[in-house]
């Protein structure tokens, strides 16, 4: 187990180096940061000097090496746009995104799993059809449209929820939480629904699909034959067996949501990392993009490590660490 963790840590380092290298190849194609940094009256000489100072004229490999050298001591430079250390910006923005992502995931799982189980058991009931049709809205309408629609109904028409932002936040060290104030909680509702809808649909349909299969396997039939209660069968046996793909997908989705809640955050002006990232892309803010991609790479390695551990807990037959079968 420990050996497994250490190996994964080493692998993580390699993943992150690869990501950084690819990132610096990529940065040549996102645009010119200099024009966004200077005023229109800045002379051509000053622009060229700035490019030189920023090292934008260096070969990709040189930029990459410089970045790795800095990153080794957690120095990711200063944002071209925000003129602040990137680490500080990320520390500032991360809590907002993490809170939003967790609440959205909670929403998706707590609605998606029961709906999936119900529609799996009562395959042809009208309620199942309603659930499935409703859940499809979450995937067939783009997120930005759903977000704007929710804002229009609940903020403009009904005036019960705020139209944007995070509300009031309470500070604990660097972590600013919106979970402890009324306005913070109210501000969380619409973005969390918007963000969670897609994952909810995915979870519902996956659980349903797996339930349909598991319910027909012989071991469930054995269980029935043994006279176990329906409830125990459905939740104790059947659901547990659906979990491997569901865990995989939820894990991936949670990672994706933390990393790229770009559209939801833009629509609700949620001051998180997705918003920061899309702005960095639009302004070609290389230090922010680079540091951010590092963080995301680490996040995915971590999540996938945890998912692999969970597999073993859910289904002890799985052997991941140690030697391959």
């Amino acid at each position: 187990m420990l050996a497994f963790a250490i190996r994964r840590l080493l692998e993580a380092a390699i993943v992150m180096l690869t990501v950084a290298l690819l990132a610096f190849v990529l940065f040549r194609f996102v645009g010119d940061p200099v024009n966004q940094m200077v005023g229109q009256d800045t002379s051509l000489e000053d622009r060229m000097r700035l490019r030189e100072e920023l090292g934008l004229n260096d070969a990709v490999i040189v930029q990459f090496a410089r970045f790795v050298a800095g990153a080794a001591s957690f120095d990711f430079g200063i944002s071209y746009q925000m003129k602040q250390p990137v680490t500080a910006i990320i520390a500032e923005r991360a809590p907002a995104t993490i809170e939003l992502a967790l609440v959205a995931a909670l929403f998706a799982v707590s609605l998606g799993i029961p709906m999936g189980v119900y529609t799996g058991i009562h395959r042809d009931s009208w309620l199942s059809r309603v659930f499935l049709a409703v859940s499809l809205i979450g995937i067939s309408l783009p997120t930005f449209l759903i977000g704007i629609f929710l804002i229009y109904v609940f903020a403009v028409k009904l005036g019960v929820l705020p139209s944007f932002g995070r509300g009031e936040v309470v500070r604990f060290g660097f972590w600013r939480t919106g979970l402890l104030t009324a306005s913070g909680l109210k501000a969380l509702i619409l973005p969390a629904i918007t963000l969670g809808l897609f994952q909810m649909t995915l979870v519902t349909r996956l659980v349903r699909a797996e339930m349909l299969e598991v319910l027909r396997t012989d071991y469930i039939k054995f269980a029935r034959a043994r006279g176990l209660s329906k409830r125990a069968i459905n939740f104790g046996h059947a659901l547990k067996n659906t979990l491997v793909p569901v865990i995989t997908v939820i894990g991936l989705q949670l990672g994706a949501v933390i990393a790229f809640a770009i559209i939801t955050e833009t629509v609700f002006q949620w001051p998180g990392m997705g918003l920061m990232f899309i702005q960095a892309v639009q302004n070609a803010d290389i230090p922010v993009m680079a540091a951010y991609l590092m963080l995301v790479a680490f996040l995915f390695v971590l999540i996938n490590f945890l998912v692999d551990l969970l597999y073993v807990r859910v289904d002890p037959r799985i052997r991941i660490y140690g030697r391959g079968a």
Binding site: V30, N35, M37, T42, E53, M82, K83, S163, T266, P271
Partner: protein, 527 residues
């Protein structure tokens, strides 16, 4: 719609008898961010406007953009090479320091430090000489009639405070340490900063020790960025904010129909225009090989006359633009009225194309930003549509601004044959346009850097040099007219329109909309 240079709208006749002690918080939102609080590191009008509530320059512009005294009580031009500024006495910075001549000289040095983006505020060879604590001379090497044109946004720093905080230099791009001014501000202005989260939220409160007489009735101000157009509109309609900028042109009617809010519109100074590559010998991204049709003034004029600006005005801009015959706003040039656009005339355009040897047209790619100007991509699509009528097949290549400026600008050596650009002369003066937009450049961009099409006429070059040093206004305006006339006749760079300002404002708020689009809340009154 008609434009006024300035719109002072009193949405309601305000009963301003409200007790001054009552807390009045003005909440506003803009589509862009307020990033660093050091006004020397970003030469951009929204940032400079927001900081203009906190910091002040020697001069300032009034509601009609006229230059008026601020930290300098008055000034005189002793001789064409020497300007004397008399400083206001008894002014204190928000940190408690007195404002003196030393601060002016310090601010000049700081404005010229390597990381500064506002070095063009004063000629590089200008010297500042302290006469006494409250008098400063600026000594020039050549006459400059518009020396103080941009000094309203050259804000004064406190030497003492900057030294104590280690912020004597504007932050350099590659600095490893953070400049304290990125998050703090210390000015002499009517408001001070309480807290600042870059890109999220900035809180201001009134400066009780301000030297002037307040024209506002606010106690606090909250600024927030709202990037998404629809969300910004929704926030205003739901009453979460009191004012926002800009209102998307297509939503103006919807916003106006709400009883609690209104839209303030006015002319903006930015001109939108099309650049045609008239420099390369072979047009890029085209099916014409071995020659460049845009080098022929007849083809450029055909393009000009094939574009139906009335349709763009009414359909794409929804009436929120002023079609322009000039590359500068009529508000900034006295003789603008003498210029008329070439008429929209497909037959004439086709004839010109035939004369130039392209009766069957050709293909070209139009590069266009899609997040920079009001409905920029819509304008480009309309242009593509209209040029198809004279058989110029336009492929549209729309992209975000960072990519656009890299491709069409000097970084990629103007890798574009046809593109759309906008420009506001920072000095509010025509020379800036003549030098930057229609001034000749080489392939690397030396000269008229923002002349993305590379149009060049030596006569304009010569006029430009003379305009720079001419101090007689009438003679100067005549030379400017001549330069603009050449561009008009040759259709060198094609002006389209000036876009308009549109602010969404709660009816509780009385605000001044200045044509430079700075949001100055020291003129805001709230019910």
């Amino acid at each position: 719609m008609t434009f006024r240079p300035l719109a002072v709208v009193s949405a309601l006749v305000l009963a301003l008898a409200a007790t001054p002690a009552a807390a009045k918080t003005f909440r506003y939102a803009f589509q862009g961010d307020l990033n660093a609080l050091d006004p020397y590191t970003l030469n951009e009008s929204f940032t400079l406007g927001a900081l203009g509530n906190v910091m002040e320059g020697l001069t300032k512009r009034d509601k009609d953009l006229k230059i008026i005294p601020a930290l300098a009580e008055r000034w005189e031009v002793i001789d064409p090479l020497k300007w004397r500024f008399y400083l206001r006495k008894g002014v204190k910075f928000q940190g408690g320091e007195d404002f003196t001549a030393d601060d002016v000289i310090f601010s000049l040095d700081r404005m010229r430090s390597p990381g500064s983006q506002i070095k063009t505020r004063a000629p590089a060879d200008m010297k500042a000489v302290k006469v006494d604590d409250y008098t400063v001379d600026f000594v020039l090497t050549s006459p400059n009639p518009i020396l103080h044109a941009e000094w309203d946004t050259w804000y004064m720093f406190s030497k003492k405070w900057a030294e104590a905080n280690g912020a004597t230099q504007a932050q350099a791009a590659q600095a490893s340490s953070l400049n304290p001014f990125a998050l703090k501000a210390n000015g002499t202005g009517p408001f001070m900063i309480v807290s600042h989260e870059p890109g999220v939220k900035t809180v201001f409160k009134v400066n009780p020790n301000w030297w002037g007489k307040p024209e506002h009735n606010l106690t606090d101000v909250i600024f927030q960025t709202i990037k998404s157009d629809a969300t910004r509109v929704a926030a205003l309609l739901s009453g979460d904010i009191d004012m926002m900028d800009p209102v998307p042109v297509q939503d103006i009617e919807r916003v106006k129909s709400n009883p609690n809010v209104t839209v303030l519109t006015g002319a903006e100074l930015r001109t939108i225009f099309l650049n045609l590559d008239s420099m390369r010998d072979e047009l890029l991204y085209s099916n014409v090989k071995g020659k460049n049709p845009f080098k022929d003034a007849r083809v450029r004029k055909a393009v000009y006359q094939a574009i139906d600006m009335e349709a763009i005005h009414s359909k794409v801009m929804r009436g929120m633009s002023t079609n322009s015959a000039l590359l500068i706003s009529p508000l900034l040039y006295a003789r603008a009225g003498e210029f008329k656009r070439w008429p929209y005339d497909i037959a004439a355009a086709k004839k010109l194309m035939g004369e130039a040897g392209y009766p069957n047209g050709f293909e070209v790619t139009l590069d266009c930003p899609n997040d920079r100007y009001v409905n920029d991509e819509g304008i480009c699509q309309a242009v593509a549509q209209m040029l198809s009528r004279i058989d110029i097949k336009v492929k549209l290549n729309a992209m975000p601004k960072a990519k656009f400026f890299q491709k069409a600008g000097p970084t990629d050596k103007y890798d574009s044959s046809f593109n759309l650009l906008g420009w506001t002369p920072g000095s509010f003066d025509s020379w800036n346009v003549i030098a930057n937009i229609i001034g000749c450049r080489d392939a690397d961009g030396k000269g008229g850097t923002f002349n993305f099409g590379g149009y060049c006429n030596q006569k304009i070059e010569e006029l430009g040099r003379n305009i720079l040093v001419e101090t007689d206004t009438t003679k100067r305006d005549a030379m400017i007219a001549e330069a603009f006339k050449i561009n008009h006749e040759e259709a060198g760079v094609l002006p389209l329109h000036q876009q308009a300002l549109a602010w969404g404002v709660s009816k509780k708020v009385e605000i001044v909309q200045r044509a430079d689009n700075q949001i100055l809340f020291y003129w805001v009154k709230m019910q």
